[in-house]
Subunit: 384 residues, 2 copies
């Protein structure tokens, strides 16, 4: 059974004045409105909603409440949590359900309100997506984890702060062209390199932000796609994996094995190689994470992510356009929504609807969504 | 594609001295050990883990950590959250994935550590599975919600405290025969009726407990079942639904529409009626909830759950044996594990391995798992 993506939409990322219900309804409405031949909320039969439930007060039993307020009252719905990869796994589960024949039309969505903490200690919960026994309780934050990875990458492969800065500059340049992005302004290489330190060697522009956002995607049985659009996007491959949660347990700090395994699986299922990809949304929660992703997914050799990026290979007109949306860095990173937001960007790119940030002739793309410091990853390959 | 249940196992429910990782590994090992012809942890290809993440310190990114410690390192895994129906939805998603052809052998599991709160206010989080805006912040707890339902049921249908007590007496009698149950002691009708009040009209024996527990089930492609056992249990039907979260939005307090819809769907898919069921594990978080379940699933007419129970129809030798495990009431209710624990009981009953609490000749059974005050529900029909 083939599965087609026929609609995708999202809120603007940033600081939202709307509650969880309003944000979710806005994303769902945008996804429904994007279906060329029309789709009504009541046609959606089941929903998977990625969320870490980081804010917004309704932290449990959220799924039913959200579909109720999106006009889909009564359909089976559940929350999928896999740290920052919650959205990617929600998409995977929705695709599997359609493939199984259990439903014809499924909603894969994601939502996070990170700026709306209803109690003082709630921000503390972000840390629980890292290892509690060995990392969080010892004070190791995600900035710290990725700083360790960056430092090791620098030592082993000669990666420089300038290499990292090139990621930020590129993604901010893309974000400046995305009306849904949290930060729509370019950043210069000098500014990126001279920004205040967050966790050395990572500075302010090496780190993604705290973001509110919701995103929604509609997947249907392949043989029904024509009822909804003449230009469906096909889910060609889905791969997912996990890795050891505590980073000291892993063989090295410069590779996310879950990314590698998930990427290989998704590409194999799609029957293609990375050279066939015109666009890729990769999980750049920190600039070093984009370099690791480029290497682990096979866009360049291990250790070469920095020079590869500095060469311009990942710009919109490069070998592969990476994070045309602005990425987590500039578009923003509303945890559970991020993986679905990546799908939204691919939906636009592969249909030639991405406006000034369009990658010319993009026919196949990849979405790469990582949880925590790499303990979990989902990768999807989409194509025309 | 048919899906077969070939293994199921769990920890003892109660207060556990083991952490999340140890509890999960114990349940997974028990499930693997129950596979007649043997199954190794490395044969499991993907996992769905139901958990509200109510305790145990590792509240986010839990899924990868748990499969790592169960010898299944690297497989795709995610947490499924739907309040107290998290386990039922994890089972549904695992079944759909096997049906889709994405994997041949899947683990559906659930876990909760409710007695291990790592910060003082964590118990407060249980309340977030009810509606936050209208109920939780106004002080309405789950005991209070179900007390309102019980009071209305009494007013509309003449249900009595004695009717409720019959549920507790039956389930404690069953729990006394279940070595995995939290409470393995019978309770007399007098004790149940004269227990201290929790939220009138509900007394101590009308309410389930705070429980640590983990449970695991192994589902495989039907055509592979013979490699694992000569007596597979078949997943004949799966139904799920949601309802309005805030109870004041619902048309009445004496029906859980999500239960009704999920039950009808599951029975239709299984091609059978409730009269064909020998056993049923229903979601008796409060005694009134078992009466609602009996009515909403169609075992008796609306309003007749009390007299139906008092008649002995739901005892082990009655029309249908309900909650032979002891139910949430006596076996215990470790939130995310509960829906999988129900599957574990059906696995034993349908294979004739339930020992002194065996329902004679049970060939078909139903598991009914409700989230919160009824905003979500998953029902499965299993059979030989």
């Amino acid at each position: 059974m083939q599965v087609a993506l026929v609609g995708a939409g999202q809120t603007k990322y940033g600081t939202s004045a709307t509650g969880l219900k309003g944000m979710f309804a806005e994303a769902a409405r945008a996804a429904l409105a994007s279906v060329d031949k029309g789709m009504q909320a009541r046609q959606v039969q089941e929903a998977w909603i990625g969320s870490v439930s980081f804010g917004g007060a309704q932290l449990g039993n959220l799924a039913g409440l959200l579909v109720e307020h999106a006009g889909m009252q009564g359909i089976p719905a559940r929350r999928v949590e896999n740290a920052c990869a919650s959205g990617g796994f929600a998409f995977r589960d929705a695709v599997q359900a359609v493939k199984s024949g259990s439903c014809d039309v499924a909603l894969a969505a994601g939502i996070e309100r990170m700026n709306d903490q209803h109690e003082e200690r709630q921000r503390y919960w972000l840390g629980v997506s890292g290892d509690t026994e060995w990392e969080r309780t010892a004070g190791l934050t995600f900035s710290g984890v990725y700083a360790l990875m960056a430092a090791r990458h620098m030592k082993d492969f000669g990666t420089t702060k300038e290499h990292l800065a090139h990621v930020a500059v590129k993604n901010h340049a893309n974000g400046a062209l995305n009306p849904k992005a949290q930060f729509q302004k370019p950043v210069s290489l000098e500014d990126a390199m001279n920004a205040p330190s967050v966790a050395a060697p990572l500075g302010l522009y090496d780190c993604c932000s705290t973001t509110d956002g919701a995103a929604a995607a509609l997947v249907v049985r392949g043989d029904l796609a024509q009822h909804f659009t003449d230009t469906p996007i096909w889910v060609q491959g889905s791969g997912a994996s996990t890795d050891l949660l505590a980073i000291h347990d892993r063989p090295n700090l410069t590779e996310l094995r879950a990314s590698r395994a998930a990427g290989q699986h998704a590409l194999r299922e799609a029957g293609c190689a990375v050279r066939d990809l015109g666009v890729a949304e990769v999980h750049d929660c920190f600039t070093i994470a984009e370099l690791l992703a480029l290497e682990d997914l096979g866009f360049c050799a291990k250790g070469q992510g920095g020079p590869f990026t500095a060469s311009g290979a990942t710009k919109r007109d490069g070998q592969v356009a990476v994070n045309t949306s602005g990425g987590l860095k500039a578009k923003g990173h509303p945890l559970g929504a991020t993986g679905i937001g990546q799908v939204c960007e691919l939906f636009l790119q592969l249909r030639g609807q991405a406006g000034p940030r369009q990658r010319a002739g993009a026919e196949r793309g990849l979405a790469h969504n990582v949880g925590g410091s790499g303990a979990t990853c989902a990768v999807h390959v989409l194509g025309v």
